[in-house]
């Protein structure tokens, strides 16, 4: 059935629920530093996440230098290499991706997209950021402690993570664990805000099924995070006690340097279960907001309503639910009852169904759409392709019999970088380019944006496609140096050099990206209102960038869903969500006849 505007008079009855009093900052400090405005908090979250993310990016270059040119850089010792691996992984997954998607985009977009003035608990929201910043600082401090940061691998598996052979055993691991505890506490404060704001603070007329998919993605991801982070919290607290006060939650009887340690009877596998009970939902904590953002962006830039909106919502919920029953597929090589392996392989493969629904729906949204190859759209298409690639290798690894030989090889590294490294990062780029005109009021430089896209997109494939191959020939992950082996051909070393060179080039492209953003804040063309001609509420604010309280004197009223693009019989190819039906201009039939 075709979409059509109902023929009703658009008088809005008075609101039943009175408006909540908004906190108004009086000083510069409370306006821009200790701000309770979700938009300012979002920018604080984003800048902090990107700053610590840059540290992780530099660490990845150092790792690549070592892998590409072993025995060349004297300042990279084996212990350093393990510290790079650990800190790169942990920072990217938790402190960059989770914080940027939920703390950054969640804070900026939720109130604006649902038509609220702010989050429901602004003070708690502010605390959330400051605790997050503290977590980042504690983590960063570990670089400067005796022994340096932890080198236990990002999974921090005991017993090895707290034994003396592991780099950072003195202080690094303690600071890492404390930082994670702080992160979880801070996130929980923010997460409660996101969930309750979506449920209870929507504008009049914004029913759940009129929410943009971005909000759905962030909403469900937040619920996942709220329920999954406690598992990491428990694991981290118990690990910290094992390290500091000598409990034996995870530590078995163990001999170190010929000496029997006082530990005994603990279960390292228990840590793995707790860690991955958090760790797998974490993949979707990052992926679901990305799914939502991509859905909205391709709909806007292809001028077409999203295909299968309800299925998209249900698929997000289904993926969220399923993500809690697949965790042990990360532990096939830890040993488990074969029936468990069978169960977890099956549940893992079942996730492919809702995920495939989403992929088909994105492609069908593009199908015969009026596609504008803007920079955000290019990144979205790159995401779809990359997520498909990474997802398919996930189907390989979800099977026990395929996973066992490939585990601990570069194939796994290639898989998870494609699916939860590169793909979500593409969405972050797409989202930054898309909402940059709203946040800064100016347009970015299109040519530099295109340069950034092509170098990053092609570069990412040149880096990670060969890694799959290296994994197949048996190159192990986590090795400082391969040396001479009977099974790794010499050409692998040449390939490694090539990958390193490309990685450095892609890294350089990110400098261009950031220079573009920084330059455009001051010198970019003034964007004006709604430059992408989008229908969602965040583009319909009275001021650009939106001011304190978002909406001026009156809150918006929502009359339709978030995808009213190219509506038949309407003059413009978009109808904003808050445009009253009486103001929707009908298309001129004579103009249509002339066409």
């Amino acid at each position: 059935m075709a979409y059509a505007e109902p023929a009703v008079v658009d008088h809005a009855p008075p609101a039943e629920v009175p408006e909540v009093e908004l906190y108004h900052a009086k000083t510069w400090l409370t306006k821009y530093v200790f701000s309770q405005d979700a938009k300012v908090i979002a920018i604080q979250y984003s800048l902090t996440a990107i700053a610590i993310g840059l540290v992780a990016l530099v660490l990845s270059w150092l790792m690549r230098l070592q892998l590409g040119f072993p025995a060349t850089f004297s300042f990279i010792e084996p212990a350093d290499y393990y510290q790079y691996v650990t800190m790169h992984g942990m920072i990217m997954v938790i402190y960059l991706l989770t914080a940027l998607f939920l703390g950054g985009f969640g804070n900026y977009l939720i109130p604006l997209m649902v038509g609220a003035r702010d989050m429901v608990f602004p003070y708690v929201n502010m605390l959330s950021y400051w605790i997050y910043l503290l977590a980042v600082l504690v983590l960063a401090a570990s670089f400067f402690t005796p022994g340096g940061p932890s080198g236990a691998g990002w999974t921090l598996y005991p017993p090895q993570s707290i034994l003396s052979g592991t780099p950072g055993q003195e202080w690094g691991i303690i600071l890492m664990l404390v930082s994670l505890m702080l992160f979880i506490i801070g996130f929980t404060m923010g997460g409660l805000n996101y969930v309750v704001t979506v449920l209870q603070a929507r504008a009049r007329g914004m029913t759940l099924m009129r929410l943009p998919l971005t909000v759905w993605g962030i909403f469900v991801a937040t619920i996942l995070a709220l329920l999954a982070f406690p598992a990491l919290f428990v694991a981290v607290v118990m690990s910290l006690l094992d390290r500091t006060v000598g409990t034996s939650f995870f530590m078995p009887h163990i001999v170190e340097m010929g000496e029997q340690l006082p530990y005994g009877g603990g279960s390292p596998i228990l840590f793995q279960h707790l860690f991955w009970f958090f760790g797998h939902p974490e993949v979707y904590i990052v992926a679901l907001p990305a799914f939502g953002i991509v859905s909205d962006l391709i709909s806007t830039h292809a001028r077409r309503n999203i295909f299968g909106y309800r299925m998209m919502v249900w698929a997000i919920i289904a993926i969220g639910g399923l993500s809690f029953v697949v965790w042990a597929h990360h532990m096939y090589v830890s040993g488990m009852n074969p029936y468990f392996g069978f169960f977890f392989a099956t549940s893992t493969l079942v996730i492919a169904i809702p995920t495939a629904i989403k992929l088909y729906n994105w492609v069908l949204t593009l199908w015969r759409g009026n596609i504008h190859f803007t920079v955000p759209m290019l990144f979205c298409i790159a995401f779809i392709v990359t997520f498909l690639n990474g997802g398919i290798t996930g189907l390989f690894l979800g099977n026990v019999s395929v996973d066992v030989p490939l585990s601990d090889t570069m194939f796994v590294v290639a898989h998870f970088h494609m699916v939860m490294g590169v793909a979500p990062i593409f969405v972050i780029f797409a989202a930054i380019y898309h909402w940059y005109p709203l946040i800064s009021g100016r347009m970015f430089n299109q040519a530099l944006g295109l340069f950034h896209f092509w170098v990053t997109f092609i570069g990412a494939y040149l880096i990670f496609l060969p890694l799959h191959y290296l994994g197949f020939v048996g190159v192990p992950r986590r090795y400082f140096e391969i040396g001479e082996t009977g099974f790794v051909p010499e050409s692998a070393a040449t390939l490694n050099e090539f990958i390193t060179v490309v990685a450095l080039i892609v890294g350089f492209a990110q400098v261009v990206f950031m220079a573009n953003l920084a330059w455009s804040v001051f010198r970019g063309r003034v964007a004006g209102r709604n430059p992408w001609r989008a229908v969602t509420l965040e583009w319909q604010t009275a001021e650009v960038p939106p001011g304190h309280g978002n909406w001026g004197p009156t809150l918006p009223v929502v009359y339709r869903w978030a995808y009213a693009y190219s509506v038949p019989g309407v003059e413009d190819d978009f109808v904003p969500q808050n445009l009253p039906p009486s103001q929707v201009k009908a298309a001129d039939p004579s103009a249509r006849a002339a066409e």
Binding site: P13, L192, Q200, A201, M209, P230
Partner: protein, 219 residues
């Protein structure tokens, strides 16, 4: 079921725009209460995982059930009385009786503080036993779990302190005040429930959790 109806709508079909305007809340409760419920869900997961970790650890070698301080029975009674006090305050707030709210909050606070003191006394008792060893898993779990529960109680006491201060300044029970007392009572009952489960399963002998594991086929 209402949520189910809300997420099965077809937003692309023509809709009566005006009729839909009042659907701004998914759940008919104040934001703070929904926030607290979600927080309680998070805390439930935390303690559930600790119980699972405890049970999992029991199956491994060298498991010795920890000593059970008799004091915990008294502490349990104190926490129940604390919850009764908060419930008293809640009922009084619903009836707009400011004196009753004050008494209820005082009683609740007093017994909760007494519970915390009792827990600390139990910690000291335990640390004084011969062969005390933190590497003993049952002892370590006892300290960890009671400490985490205690931290949540202390967090509740902060909210209780703010509510009590407001009650003392107020001359009548206004709506926001009633809301705070209501949330405090909900939180207290929840932490009591958590404690009863923890005490019943883990700290009053391991018979109950053994039985539970046997019923689930793990033993």
């Amino acid at each position: 079921m209402d949520l189910l109806r809300q997420i099965t709508e077809k937003p692309w079909l023509p809709q009566d725009a005006v009729e839909r305007l009042h659907a701004e809340r998914a759940i008919a409760a104040p934001a703070a209460k929904i926030g607290l419920r979600f927080f309680l869900a998070v805390v439930s997961v935390l303690f559930l995982l600790l119980i699972i970790a405890y049970a999992e650890r029991m199956r491994f070698e060298a498991w010795r059930p920890g000593p059970q301080p008799v004091l915990l029975w008294l502490n349990t009674a104190l926490l129940i009385l604390g919850s009764v006090g908060l419930q008293w305050a809640r009922v009084a707030a619903n009836r707009r009786q400011i004196d009753g709210v004050r008494k209820g909050l005082m009683i609740g606070g007093f017994f909760t503080l007494a519970f915390l003191a009792g827990q600390i006394a139990a910690w000291r008792q335990l640390s004084g036993i011969p062969f005390f060893n933190m590497a003993s898993p049952a002892i370590a779990f006892f300290y960890l779990i009671t400490a985490l529960h205690g931290v949540h109680i202390v967090g509740g006491l902060v909210a209780w302190g703010r509510a009590t201060a407001r009650v003392w300044r107020a001359s009548a029970v206004a709506r926001p005040l009633q809301g705070s007392v209501d949330l405090c009572a909900l939180y207290w009952h929840f932490l009591l429930l958590v404690w009863l489960v923890l005490f019943g399963l883990l700290f009053s002998g391991n018979g109950n959790i053994d039985l539970l594991l046997a019923l689930c086929g793990f033993r």
